[in-house]
Symmetry: C2
Subunit: 217 residues, 2 copies
Amino acid sequence: MKKIGVLGTGAVGRTIGKRLIELGYEVKMGSRTSTNEKAVEWVNSNGENASAGTFEDAAQFGEIIFNCTKGEITLEALKMAGTGNFDGKTVIDISNGLDFSQGFPPFLTPQYANTNSLGEEVQKLLPGANVVKSLKIVNCEVMVNAAKSGGDPTMFVAGNNDGVKQEVISILNQFGWNDIIDLGDITNARGMEMMLPIWTRIYGATKNGHIAFKIVR
Amino acid sequence: MKKIGVLGTGAVGRTIGKRLIELGYEVKMGSRTSTNEKAVEWVNSNGENASAGTFEDAAQFGEIIFNCTKGEITLEALKMAGTGNFDGKTVIDISNGLDFSQGFPPFLTPQYANTNSLGEEVQKLLPGANVVKSLKIVNCEVMVNAAKSGGDPTMFVAGNNDGVKQEVISILNQFGWNDIIDLGDITNARGMEMMLPIWTRIYGATKNGHIAFKIVR
């Protein structure tokens, strides 16, 4: 079973990490410091296959790496992890650059929206890695359990390497996603990242955080 | 039965107009000139309740007005129609500002995206009107026949007047939309307009123009 690095100790990273442990993977969670309180607590409650360290420790450990850092610090965190540590690896990018400076709902960080995306910036920063954008169109409980939405929703992948996307799709299948659309190369991260504004507004209107999108066709 | 003005003679305007005629409404299609070829052909094939004229003619005629102009010319077209002609009326805004200057898929016109929307600009230009953003998250054949998607998809409305939104929802019901989420005020047009980038990419990946979105919940 492959070793997986999870960057970021927020709700997304802890939830993804916990589910991967349940599925039998070895998981190392990475953050700025190896003594991050949330990471230590996560390790203590997730058994012998759970460990924690710095961003660099997690990047070196993982054969597959989930980027669960907040979009605002993603590029900085990847640099702290050592960009060479991602060479030849699969990076599943779940980040979104959100700007809450004007309250809720947030808007997207303009330099990563519309004519660009954070997924593309991650791929540019890690030219030796195979970056696949996925998952960040639902909240983390739905990410790891699609049925939590109440139905059989659609998930997307975007990335430059078809074989790597198949590897990611097999993990998504383990997370309960049965309806997956391959949008094409990493520039298609733009479309996925621009779904956040409607997600936040549907959430605002329905107060349901477990919504998901089904592409009817 | 109410009189409806339809601004724009493209596929969206003609399809919406035809369906409204079938539903028993009187419809006047508006364009730059009263002799627009597409409008004349549309009138000739849609019976006695169909007529055409200038943007101004259609705006004066309609108790409800559908804005089906391309986003790039929407504000100019509304000015040509005479902004006072919309006072006290319901305006259903189906426009999207798309920039094809770098090919397909297009990006959104930056000044109307993310921190703004065309729906909000239309409401600002027509302060006496009740603008409701809706429909432009699917292609025009699905707009007027939700089941054409192959399922029971979700539609959104956004606007400042609850009573007017109910009036619009009743038209959406006649178009076959049974699952409608009221997102709130017109600023929520931002979320809807930012769905275009994922629509164009799903279309690019699937070549299916009849896709629609179901919010699983």
